[in-house]
């Protein structure tokens, strides 16, 4: 309940923050909304020597949409993503995913960047990032670099972020027309985290067949992953019930699912299939519907 002592630093800009991180590396931890880090510090599972509070940096609170890209600052809160008109129009999948995170209070405080950098395997956002082909813009001592979502999540609670880097923004390429997306989730009953969370995206071709299929899965493996087998199975086919079910059956192919008191490996595997099917069905419906979702 009571965090260990630490030194608190409140940099004035990204450059100062990065500089400080560069000096202290693993002894320092970045604090954004704190909804993942502070609970861990209360349990003393995390006890950083320095806490670098970037929570006030205005340049991380920007949200922009141009013709090609939706750019979301890393400090944008889940509640904003859930409810902002702009995001509802430009990237409804992101809004649908954000709405599934934690509870109202956590969404009021937790940030997209904080959640992604924490990289909990049962978090909701990673699968969606994978499906959206998001690009993570990162600031480090040598300037900016881009990490593709697919390269970002490297292990359980581990990302490609270096200790001296800060996630600045998430860039989401504009989706093609006739695209439908969905995020569906089976909740762990106590924590609300995902036992299985499946984000999917289907773009229909003029022939009504799936031109592009992307499926991302949280909760099943220690690292969120793109279910390429599912995607390949469905690509080029009509998105009917049978084809979707056939594809979804491959949701956990090549994956050794996690096992804990809430769900065994076998159950996670099965549920990955069930939820992949549900997610794809919903995405397919939305892709076919006149209003894009």
């Amino acid at each position: 309940m009571f965090p260990a002592n630490f030194n608190y630093v409140r940099p004035n800009n990204i450059r100062e923050a990065v500089q400080f991180l560069n000096e202290h590396k693993d002894d320092a931890k970045v604090l954004a909304g704190g909804q993942s880090l502070i609970p861990m510090m209360k349990l003393r599972l995390a006890a950083p020597e320095f806490l670098v509070d970037i929570g006030r940096l205005p340049e991380l609170k920007e949200i922009d949409l141009d013709d090609a890209v939706l750019t979301i600052g890393s400090l944008i809160r889940h509640a904003d993503i859930e409810t902002a008109d702009l995001i509802a129009r430009a990237c409804p999948l992101l809004a649908e995913t954000a709405a599934e995170i934690g509870d109202a209070q956590v969404r009021n405080r937790g940030t997209i960047g904080g959640s992604l950098a924490h990289a909990d395997p049962s978090a909701d956002l990673p699968a969606t990032m994978l499906v959206l082909d998001a690009r993570f813009s990162v600031a480090g001592p040598d300037g900016r670099r881009i990490i593709m979502a697919e390269d970002f999540f490297t292990d359980v609670m581990t990302t490609a972020l270096r200790p001296n880097e800060i996630l600045v923004s998430i860039e989401i390429p504009k989706m093609s027309r006739r695209t439908g997306c969905a995020y569906v989730k089976m909740h762990q009953q106590a924590s609300g985290f995902a036992i299985v969370g499946v984000a999917s995206l289907i773009t229909l071709g003029r022939n009504g067949r799936a031109e592009d299929v992307r499926v991302g899965i949280n909760g099943v493996s220690g690292v969120p992953y793109r279910a390429h087998a599912v995607e390949e199975s469905l690509r080029g086919k009509p998105v009917d019930e049978r084809n979707i079910a056939e594809a979804a059956a491959l949701a956990a192919q090549g994956v050794e699912p996690l096992s804990d008191i809430h769900a065994s490996s076998e159950y996670r595997r099965e549920m990955a299939t069930v939820y992949a099917r549900r997610s794809l069905q919903r995405a397919a419906q939305r892709a076919s519907a006149p209003q894009r979702h």
């Binding site: 309940m1 009571f2 965090p3 260990a4 002592n5 630490f6 030194n7 608190y8 409140r10 604090l31 704190g34 909804q35 502070i38 609970p39 510090m41 209360k42 349990l43 806490l51 509070d53 929570g55 006030r56 205005p58 340049e59 609170k61 920007e62 949200i63 922009d64 949409l65 141009d66 400090l75 944008i76 809160r77 509640a79 904003d80 859930e82 409810t83 902002a84 008109d85 702009l86 934690g102 509870d103 109202a104 209070q105 956590v106 009021n108 405080r109 106590a190 924590s191 609300g192």
Partner: protein, 185 residues
């Protein structure tokens, strides 16, 4: 190492020096001795410690006092004054939305947050909105009724405010030019 903070609590500006590790809930309860906000768990699940930070419900056990520096905090004590009850408190009283009362302050703050964003919520919407507030006594049904009761009272008073408000205070733009949110979020 102590850190100076200035936090407006229930409308009163308070200045203190705090250890950075001090949680907002302990700052309120132990430094300011404003004890209506309770602690119910350690893991940010129960919501007994819910307060408003710059008008939005947050769990004060998941916020450091230093993070609230420069912000305004409203606790259950700030909802009504002079021994009166506001509409939400009154709704809970009328519908038996509490028994032991321990989770109640947090629930009142969450209910306020919901009703500001959605003045006429369905039962399902209410349940979803209070999923971050655990209650062991009531089984939740009377709480749902309490919030509906409060919503009715509030709508009756302010018919103009009954239309949906845009909850997020985001300023966004379709142009490439940068748009900034206020620095203190």
């Amino acid at each position: 190492m102590k850190f100076p903070v200035e936090i407006t609590v229930n409308g009163v500006k308070r200045r203190s020096e705090v250890e950075p590790r001090l949680l907002l809930v302990h700052y309120l309860r132990d430094v300011l001795e404003i004890t209506g906000t309770h602690v119910g768990c350690e893991t940010g699940i129960c919501g007994a410690c819910t307060v408003h930070l710059d008008d939005e419900a947050v769990k004060s056990c998941m916020v450091l006092a230093v993070q609230a520096d420069g912000c305004s905090v409203t606790t259950v004590e700030g909802l009504a004054s002079d021994g009166t009850l506001d509409d939400v408190q009154q709704g809970f009283w009328e519908e038996h939305g509490l028994q032991c009362g321990y989770c109640t302050p947090g629930l009142l703050m969450s209910a306020h947050d919901l009703l500001r964003k959605s003045p006429n919520p369905s039962a399902e919407e209410i349940r979803r909105a209070i999923n971050g507030n655990l209650c062991r006594c009531t089984g939740y049904q009377t709480i749902v009724h309490s919030i509906q009761n409060a919503a009715q009272k509030m709508r009756a008073k302010k018919p103009a405010a009954a239309k949906q408000v845009q909850p997020a205070k985001l300023r966004t733009s379709k142009r490439k030019r940068e748009q900034r949110r206020p620095a203190t979020v």
